[in-house]
């Protein structure tokens, strides 16, 4: 390799390592100085800096137009990558973008369209058309240290205590009406 190429590689390597370190310790210089795609590849080191206070998971419910009620909808058939853990794309979409209306509306459209296509079993009968979704955050407190624990198993949403769930998103009426008809009006709470 030519000397100029070697020097260029060394500068690139040094920039990467300095950026990785600064980003890891929480310094904002890489975010300000570098293009976002470049900085993205440096966001790797700050792993698990905080204690978890709850075990969190995102769930979905569908609004069944004919029955006028919410029922849990399992999103995993529509997000098949890593279906059973928090690396699942549905979980990740909500972790990153739960405050981003564009993404929530896109998720809403996607889940409604996928369920109504009736190609998979998702907990709501295939012949029941849904008009909207409700995204629910489940957060279960971490047991005290030393407590005997059981292997985590997926529980139905209805099994969680009320204070362990929080609705993050509900399909607005303006989006629901064209799908279910104007007489359909979701109640505020899960029956």
């Amino acid at each position: 390799m030519r000397a100029s190429g070697r020097y260029a590689l060394r500068v690139l390597a040094a920039t990467y390592l300095v950026g990785l370190w600064l980003d890891g310790i929480g310094c904002e210089i890489p975010a300000r100085a570098l293009p976002r795609p470049a900085e993205y590849f440096m966001q790797v080191a700050a792993l698990f800096p905080d204690a978890a206070t709850v075990a969190s998971e995102y769930r979905a419910e569908g609004w069944i137009c004919a029955d006028q009620r919410w029922q849990e909808l399992d999103p995993r058939p529509y997000f098949p990558l890593d279906p059973d853990d928090k690396e699942n794309r549905f979980q990740r979409a909500l972790r990153f973008y739960r405050d981003e209306p564009l993404v929530l509306h896109a998720l809403d459209d996607y889940l409604v369209e996928r369920h109504n296509a009736a190609l998979h079993d998702d907990g709501i009968p295939r012949d029941r058309v849904i008009g909207g979704v409700r995204i629910v955050l489940v957060h279960v407190p971490i047991p005290r240290p030393g407590t005997r624990i059981e292997r985590l198993a997926r529980r139905p949403l209805a099994d969680f205590a009320k204070d362990e769930t929080r609705v993050l998103y509900r399909t607005p009426k303006a989006r629901l009406d064209p799908r279910c008809g104007p007489t359909s009006a979701p109640v505020e709470e899960t029956p």
Binding site: M1, R6, L9, R10, A13, Y16, L17, L20, W21, L22, G24, I25, G26, A31, R36, P37, E39, Y40, F41, M42, V44, A45, A46, L47, P49, D50, A51, A52, T53, A55, S56, E57, Y78, F79, P80, L81, D82, D85, K86, E87, R89, F90, R92, A93, F96, Y97, E100, L102, V103, A106, L107, Y110, V140, I142, P145, G146, R148, I149, R151, L152
Partner: protein, 308 residues
């Protein structure tokens, strides 16, 4: 240029690419792509849902820091082609076949998928293109693998067993930089103030059967010293790996830590294997890797060189 500056630059140049056994780079070249493909395997089988247009796509967000670059989904057929190229290139790297070209193609596909889908991108997704570029910059495939075997069959002399390896120096620095930043981030988070951080991470969907077994078998008072030992290892990694006398202990601790991470946090197993590969390749004692006497074409100028 003064003589002092010349000597400094010369020493810096040797430090940045010290003579080392090429087998260090071959270890990375053989095992890192396998760990990366293992990590990608769950995604590869759903290529059309992952980077194609068959699954959910996050729409273009102009100002969201969690979307570094918007890339529209690929047509499903093209998504399958991309993952096919990725797997073939990764396997070719591991086998040492057309090594440099394969590494560059593999790195390009890895960078593409990391940017294409933020939702399925993790630490492995982001560091693997960089690791592969480091492999491409060195004499990977020159000693072991298909390329080396073909050259031997054509009667060419064996490549040097010991050569200046800037790639390995980079990976050594990468590891200590990574650990150091990670340790400082932990110290700035809850690891110094909350005694049960490790315990708190055993209860979500990363949990494995081994996690439950260990959580129930370990006395609760042990979690805090374990937590602090990880913090001290990571925060002071430049010291542990920089000093010759602590390097082997640091290597064993690092391997043990990643083994536990892999066993206790199911999907993180591939990250653990990738980091263990780098640790072994970068910090295994020189005497365990040096070729038999008379086989090397050059000797290291600094025995036990790997002062990161």
């Amino acid at each position: 240029m003064s003589r002092f500056l010349q000597r400094f630059l010369q020493r810096a140049s040797v430090w940045m690419a010290p003579p080392m056994p090429v087998v260090r780079l071959e270890i990375v070249r053989i095992f890192a792509p396998l760990a990366v493909i293992g990590f990608m395997s769950g995604r590869l089988v759903h290529a059309d849902e992952w980077i194609g247009d068959a699954g959910f796509r996050v729409p273009h967000l102009a100002q969201n820091p969690n979307q570094p670059l918007y890339m529209p989904p690929l047509p499903s057929s093209l998504a399958w082609v991309v993952v096919g190229v990725m797997v073939l290139a990764g396997l070719a790297v591991s086998l040492g076949f057309r090594t440099r070209a394969s590494v560059l193609i593999f790195a390009a596909t890895l960078a593409f998928v990391a940017l294409s889908d933020r939702l399925a991108a993790f630490t492995v997704s982001k560091i693997s293109p960089v690791i592969m570029l480091a492999v491409a910059a060195g004499p990977a495939g020159s000693r072991l693998g298909v390329d080396a075997w073909l050259r031997r069959r054509q009667g060419e002399p064996a490549a040097a067993a010991i050569a200046p390896l800037g790639s390995i120096r980079f990976l050594q620095l990468f590891l200590v930089t990574f650990y150091s930043a990670s340790g400082i981030a932990k110290a700035g988070g809850d690891w110094l103030t909350t005694p049960f951080v490790l315990w708190s991470h055993l209860h979500d969907t990363y949990q494995t059967g081994f996690t439950v077994l260990l959580a129930n078998a370990t006395p609760s008072f042990l979690w805090t010293p374990l937590q602090y030992s990880v913090l001290v290892f990571e925060g002071f990694a430049p010291l542990w790996f920089g000093l010759r006398y602590t390097r082997l202990v640091a290597l064993v601790f690092g391997l043990g830590m990643h083994a536990m991470i892999g066993l206790m946090f199911g999907p993180v197993i591939w990250f653990a294997l990738l980091m263990m590969t780098l640790l072994v390749a970068c910090f295994l004692p020189e005497r365990w890797l040096a070729p038999p006497p008379g086989k090397a074409t050059a000797r290291p100028t600094q025995p036990g060189d790997a002062t990161a």
